[in-house]
């Protein structure tokens, strides 16, 4: 039997808030929006816990580490029957990133994804969305490469302060 929200679910959610993305450690997995559901069976002594997560990109190497970290924090908190399930649909989108997550990214020097999803089509040489420099806030920036240090980022440079920066691209 499953219950919607109880003390255990709240406790599990609070624990998930402490698991950080290994590649962008300022973001927690809940900031990223990759935790899709928390299921807890109605057993006060030893509940079955299921955490449903979704990858950002198919090949995201952080997913295995994240699954392991989730298991660790739950084990440390005394939970025993833990199941971590990965789902692919609906596909993760940057729209699921929390507002707090966006602010933390910017403070960390990574431009957060634009809040409205840009149209993603395969056409060449599309007008790029205006990306704000996380250092000086200028919108006068240019794309260096659509692919950056991790699958989720593009490389930009600011035309005003000249600083190169990562942009967490819309997806």
């Amino acid at each position: 039997m499953q219950v919607a929200e109880n003390d255990i679910v709240r406790k599990v959610r609070a624990l998930l808030e402490t698991v950080c993305d290994p590649e962008i450690p300022v973001l927690t997995i809940t900031d990223l929006g990759i935790v899709r559901a928390v299921h807890v069976t109605d057993d006060k002594e030893s509940p079955d816990i299921e955490i449903v997560i979704t990858p950002t990109y198919s090949g995201c190497p952080a997913m295995d580490v994240i699954s392991m970290q989730i298991r660790m924090v739950l084990l440390e908190a005394g939970f025993k029957n833990i199941k971590i399930t990965q789902v692919l649909s609906p596909a993760w989108t940057t729209d699921w990133m929390s507002e707090a997550g966006r602010q933390k990214l910017k403070a960390y020097g990574i431009a957060p994804p634009a809040s409205t999803q840009s149209v993603c089509t395969p056409d060449a040489f599309q007008a790029e969305e205006a990306v704000q420099c996380p250092q000086c806030n200028s919108y006068n920036t240019k794309l260096i490469s659509r692919f950056g240090s991790t699958a989720c980022k593009s490389l930009y440079q600011c035309n005003d302060c000249k600083e190169p920066f990562d942009y967490f691209k819309c997806h």
């Binding site: 090949g59 490469s145 659509r146 692919f147 950056g148 699958a151």
Partner: protein, 250 residues
């Protein structure tokens, strides 16, 4: 004897794995750092997609089959990837042109698959499509830049076109198991794949001031496990560790 569905899943997985592996050979060798990172990011996406298809195939096969046993313990004749994915990278222009041809195929294929009546296959396709959309944009922009670039880059793209064109038809000619799956999973748009692919290729080649080859002859066999000599070398490198030290983990 594998069912058509398992063959089909392996076909999708093998394409992604082998092309992903070829792209990974550019790691540390790209013409400039940003593009080295781009091609290896595409590699990572493709290997990730391959894992999803292999995991699904493994669950359908059962008998302790895993994504790893499918990738590391099958031999050449069991691989079903299109020949174009296993061809050597050649120069940067040839790598880019192959990526453009193949990503465009994957784009229209995944667009059709995401609405099929197999829930897990549709989910993998929906996820992969977002990534492949980027790959099509990136590779088509490079085809245009190089084709409509300098005399040398234009000449190199002509050579690449000549080397690759006869391998493009195979993607679009369905094998027996693809036909069965198109029917069984109600994959709409599978019949118009070739038409859509040709239209997109023509549009980009024209913008790149490159001719659209007229030759309709195509080199085939990969989908049925008949490969070029190149695949054996890829597997020798990719599978060495698991063959030499079965079950090793690190």
């Amino acid at each position: 004897m594998l069912s058509p569905k398992i063959k089909y899943l392996l076909y999708l997985a093998d394409n992604a794995l082998i092309l992903g592996h070829r792209n990974s050979e550019w790691c540390g060798h790209g013409p400039i750092l940003e593009q080295d990172i781009a091609v290896t990011n595409i590699s990572l996406d493709l290997v990730g997609q391959a894992r999803n298809f292999y995991q699904y195939a493994a669950s359908e096969i059962g008998n302790n089959t895993t994504e790893d046993s499918l990738a590391y313990l099958r031999d050449v004749r069991e691989f079903k990837n299109c020949l174009i994915t296993e061809l050597p990278n050649g120069d940067w222009g040839q790598t880019i042109l192959r990526q453009f041809f193949f990503s465009t195929y994957q784009y229209f294929l995944y667009t059709a698959l995401k609405d099929c009546n197999d829930e897990q296959l549709a989910a993998i396709a929906e996820k992969s499509l977002k990534e492949v959309t980027y790959h099509v944009r990136w590779s088509s922009e490079w085809v245009i830049r190089l084709g409509d670039g300098t005399a040398e880059s234009h000449q190199r793209m002509l050579t690449a076109l000549d080397n690759l064109w006869n391998y493009t038809g195979e993607m679009l000619i369905p094998s027996a198991y693809e036909k069965e799956i198109n029917e069984a999973l109600a994959i709409k748009g599978a019949d118009s794949l070739a038409e859509k692919w040709n239209r997109k290729i023509k549009e980009v080649l024209e913008e790149a001031t490159l001719p659209v080859p007229q030759s309709a002859w195509s080199q085939q066999g990969g989908k049925e496990g008949m490969h070029t000599e190149h695949l054996g070398y890829i597997l020798a490198e990719m599978q060495f560790l698991q063959r030499a030290y079965p079950g090793v983990e690190w």
